[in-house]
């Protein structure tokens, strides 16, 4: 078994277009949630979102590239570029064949799909844009990243709704740990602000008409966000040998299925994912100092997640810190696992726990220290990042300070 180093991070979301920009705001407890640019007609029942407003595709791609790349794939690619640049890796020779690309996306290229449907069903025009298929395919980001960097090893996309990129990271971690891959670019992206998708979320009645207030008594639901997060995972010894800066270590991963209900969460499934991640890491629950919670801000999630955490972590009432950074970058669905893993690694690195903002009063039913509103300085060694998806699919990733 090989140790797995994290040697590069890349992030685009409502908080900024690079890791340092985003981290500065996360560490200061600043939210990227704002008024939606397009209020909808008739107006959406929710008017808040975490849009990546300063992301301008033409700053990063040629017009010809953009013909092929939907927004979600652009976000993944730009995040991958930042991560690879930081790692200093070039995927030459053997490394090209021994590297993997694994991305997560819950929905793929939704804008192109909706444009196609508009022509087809509204305008009665049977002629659909010819690149609809390659633009919408959920693996568009993984494919683009693999050919941009010349990575020839395993490349694929995981689609497990809100757990997509946590599952992608877990798979990549296991590939590198087992030695099947020497390095992996893993993470995910999502572009959720299409009209059809916003209406579909509206219909689910889980989006907050207010801002996202995880673990707060007055929480009213989640706030959608868009973004991309990518991490470079690398064989620890190789990273050391080439003198790379190691930003953190991935030490354990667990996943489970509730096998219970398509949307209603249960605490048993998440508890199993967390427990199995601890077992995978060979660590006890008491070793974990911080959990970046799934913490969507829905009534159901926050209370069941808290119950699962209290069940698994005996230190929950004393030394365990839990926060939901979704209060700042929104719920980025398929990108959530990656963005939150990056936030977790940076928290370990800087000894700063990003807070759960918008927290008016902590729900006593949650019963955890959710680091409300103000960032907390803390000496952290191990941290966990949780994602729980619609469909009952859970993932927990454990990271260690380098």
């Amino acid at each position: 078994m090989n140790r797995v180093a994290v040697t590069g991070l890349g992030l685009v979301c409502a908080l900024g277009n690079t890791v340092p920009e985003c981290w500065n705001r996360l560490a200061a407890g600043e939210t990227g949630i704002a008024q939606l640019k397009d209020p909808g007609n008739p107006p959406y029942k929710f008017q808040k979102g975490a849009e990546a407003r300063s992301f301008n595709a033409s700053d990063h791609f040629t017009e010809r590239d953009l013909i092929m790349l939907e927004r979600f794939a652009q976000l993944a690619t730009v995040a991958a570029r930042e991560a690879v640049a930081q790692s200093g890796l070039s995927f030459n020779g053997d490394l090209a064949d021994k590297s993997a690309v694994i991305t997560g996306s819950s929905i793929g290229g939704q804008f192109t799909e909706e444009e196609g449907y508009l022509r087809l069903y509204k305008d009665g025009n049977p002629r659909i844009a010819p690149l609809t298929i390659p633009r919408t395919m959920a693996n568009a980001g993984a494919s683009r990243i693999s050919f941009e960097f010349g990575i020839h090893g395993p490349a694929y996309t995981v689609s497990t709704a809100c757990s997509s990129s946590n599952h992608a990271l877990g798979q990549a971690f296991w590939l590198v740990r087992s030695g099947q891959a020497t390095a992996a670019l893993a993470g995910g992206s999502e572009a959720v602000f299409s009209e059809g998708l916003l209406r579909a979320w509206e219909a689910m009645r889980v989006v907050s008409p207010d801002v996202c207030r995880p673990f707060s008594t007055d929480r009213k639901g989640l706030t959608l966000g868009e973004g991309g997060g990518m991490l470079v995972l690398e064989n620890w010894e190789r990273a050391k040998a080439r003198g790379a800066t190691i930003l953190g270590e991935i030490v354990g991963f667990g996943m489970s299925s509730d096998a219970y209900h398509i949307t209603q969460p249960s605490s048993d499934g998440p508890a199993k994912a967390m427990l199995w991640a601890l077992q995978d890491a060979g660590r006890s629950a008491a070793d974990i100092d911080y959990i970046n919670a799934h913490g969507t801000g829905t009534l159901a999630n926050d209370v069941t997640e808290s119950e699962a955490i209290r069940r698994i972590f005996p230190n929950h009432s004393t030394s365990l810190l839990v926060s939901s950074t979704k209060s700042m970058h929104g719920h980025t669905l398929g990108a959530a696992g990656a963005i939150e893993a990056i936030a977790t690694i940076l928290a370990l690195n800087h000894g700063i726990v990003p807070p759960t903002v918008n927290c008016t009063s902590v729900d006593p039913a949650c019963g955890l220290d959710v680091v409300p509103n103000t960032p907390r300085l803390a000496d952290l060694e191990f941290a966990m990042s949780n994602t729980f998806a619609f469909g009952g699919l859970n993932a927990a990733l454990i990271m260690r300070r380098a």
Partner: protein, 94 residues
């Protein structure tokens, strides 16, 4: 029935559409340019065909597309389909 495009007009229009779709200057395209010279791959090709179909309101058959190797092939292919389309009198019009 709209005016039938003249030969030169049709070539110029097709070249204009290729230039626009490929984001290259029209001056770099001649009637004898091959698609290879213009670095037009199969995916670019279907974009161009889509734009041509939209512009002329025609349907270019798949087998016609596969045999296009040069700008001239495209122009002649479009001309053939346009002429065929114009000869087919829609029911109720005559």
């Amino acid at each position: 029935m709209p005016e039938h495009p003249e030969t030169d007009d049709l070539s110029a229009e097709v070249i204009g559409i290729i230039a626009e779709t490929q984001r290259i200057p029209a001056e770099t395209i001649s009637i004898d340019s091959t698609l290879e010279q213009l670095k037009i791959d199969s995916l670019d090709g279907i974009n161009i065909v889509f734009a041509l179909e939209e512009k002329f309101g025609i349907n270019i058959p798949d087998e016609g597309v596969q045999n296009m190797r040069s700008v001239r092939d495209i122009v002649e292919g479009v001309r053939g389909v346009v002429e065929e389309t114009n000869q087919t009198v829609p029911p109720g019009v005559a």
